[in-house]
Subunit: 345 residues, 2 copies
């Protein structure tokens, strides 16, 4: 179990403060937000009016990445955060914010979700996504989707407009047709980089992992939400589903404790119900999100398995991973904001 | 929330004691089982060498059911338990026992799993199943399978023979071909009763719920396992997946706390991660399985949502539901055994 212990907990790397932060006070609606929010664990804690964290996957980002490439990632992550911030600061809901942010990351071909999704073994794309609203634990998930430009939008529609919470394959496509969501040819998701990854993976007969995207938000009404979207594993076998659409594995939100979006080896996240296990330790053991994640990773996951982003009900942001790095950015109403890829920038 | 409170907890209805129970002592292998089993919460507790519980669905079994029909259900459930008992008493593993018992229930057309599975809206059958081994939380799940005679066998093969834990649709079928599991025409699953249910459901434009099957076992080595299999909802939309293959929703097993198999409204079980939530309250709050289930049902589920069967690490059996009844049977090494459909027999 020695190998499981290289877990890193990072919250403080603040790189970006250039964007004029909206003043969250004054735009939170008629009722002060705090009245509607559950009490934080400690009366001493500062409660954030809103908070956001996004990820673009955990893995081994090359240390020799060019400045240009790195800045591209950072701008993409910060762009998503800025959009979420604008929405939340204006009193918008957490569930809308996480959907909006994930749509932006899906549309960015740097990330393995939506445009830029990896190729399966059969050189097509099969996309999974899930969203969860912590205010009532309503949720929606899709798996094995092939022609929906933004799978997270379809997951949201499953949540809002269907009696079900989980639709797969052709059934999910049929629902997409009914809902009139934007469709694309499967080849629209193709990118050169992902094709090279497939060629490499086919040559080595291995699957290759690339960054899922996800977002967690706390809104001014005190509600948490989480959303995750992925193309899965390069060279994955036909029909394989990972943790993303499995509520409690890669995605979970409950106002009683926290919102979580995970990224990493889906099989491990399912086996150990990683998101729900972290949330349960916050909820029933009274641990902080950081300590809960640290324990779940140390006790159950292997080095390199992945990472999570988290926000608790007081708006504290947590990011935890046991890989070489995790693409991530965050902001809250106090003016804290940042972006990071590795532990040290 | 008043309507959520009609939860019934039943353990003591013992109807069957006619079968010659094997003597579990003496066949538990070289090491006394207790040495390998985690300590129970209380030193006063009797630890069972092995324990079994199965279900054939929760719902509203008609009170005016004929004796013949009722006896048919009872014999089917008791037959599964007897097979599991023989296996466990001979030192077999919990994960083999739950697979074996679920295969028997799948093959029995009374239940909505395998032969006798309900029809989808499009008048075909789409089957889901999952199995989980509490010794290491390894698991396997399949969803949307159409030609695999025993979906639980395929779920087990996903667990044992694939690098993945969750395969869906055509990908799961392709894996079934590789594994050479028994295949049938989709129409093999047809039964007259289920066709009538579909006609009724189509006429009312509603989906209809029928009993999933499941099994939980503790073996003489101290390991827990759970398995669940279902045809889902009559008239369900194409591609809908319920809680059964979602690890932590309808199926969960962890030697640290308990094994659980659920049956009922899959969407509710997914939203509230019912199995994992019960297990978490046992694990982190120190509640008994009965109390944990009572709280999760009272706090999160609506009247009529479903039921769970459970075994904790000391071999205590729990059964909890908030429907009119739940088909179930149980046995343990102390000689306790029984079968029940309603709260009073």
């Amino acid at each position: 179990m020695q190998s499981r212990l290289r877990t890193l907990m990072l919250c403080g790397v603040v790189v970006w403060a250039g964007c004029a932060a909206p003043n969250p006070e004054g735009v939170v609606g008629e009722e002060p937000a705090a009245k509607e929010r559950p009490a934080a664990d400690s009366a001493e804690e500062v409660r954030q009016d809103w908070a956001i964290v996004v990820h673009g996957g955990a893995g081994t980002p090359p240390r020799d990445m060019s400045d240009e490439r790195r800045q591209g990632y950072e701008q993409a992550l910060l762009g998503a955060v800025a959009a979420g911030e604008e929405h939340l600061a204006a009193g918008g809901t957490a569930v809308d914010a996480v959907e909006l942010m994930v749509v932006l990351l899906e549309d960015d071909e740097r990330f393995n979700a939506g445009k830029g999704a990896v190729f399966t073994h059969d050189a097509v794309h099969e996309l999974d996504a899930a969203v969860m609203d912590g205010s009532d634990r309503s949720c929606g998930a899709v798996a094995g989707v092939k022609t929906v430009r933004n799978p997270i939008r379809l997951a949201r529609l499953v949540m809002d407009r269907s009696p079900h919470v989980f639709l797969i394959g052709e059934g999910a496509e049929q629902f997409a047709t009914e809902m009139e969501v934007e469709r694309v040819e499967n080849s629209w998701f193709d990118t050169e980089g992902r094709r090279k990854s497939l060629e490499r993976a086919l040559a080595s007969e291995k699957e290759e992992k690339h960054g899922t995207v996800g977002a967690v938000a706390l809104d001014t009404h005190g509600n948490l939400a989480a959303a995750t979207s992925t193309g899965g594993l390069t060279n994955k076998r036909f029909g394989r589903v990972g943790d993303v659409p499995v509520i409690g594995a890669g995605t979970y939100a409950d106002n009683a404790c926290c919102g979580i979006s995970g990224t990493g080896k889906g099989e491990q996240f399912i086996r150990h119900t990683v998101a729900r296990s972290i949330a349960a330790r916050v909820q029933f053991e009274g641990l902080s999100i950081d300590e809960a994640a640290r324990r779940v990773f140390a006790e159950h996951l292997d080095d390199g398995d992945g990472g999570v982003i988290m926000i608790d009900r007081a708006g504290r942001i947590g990011m935890h991973y046991n890989t070489g790095g995790m693409y991530r950015a965050w902001a809250d109403a106090s003016g804290t904001r940042g972006v990071a890829i590795w532990e040290q920038e």
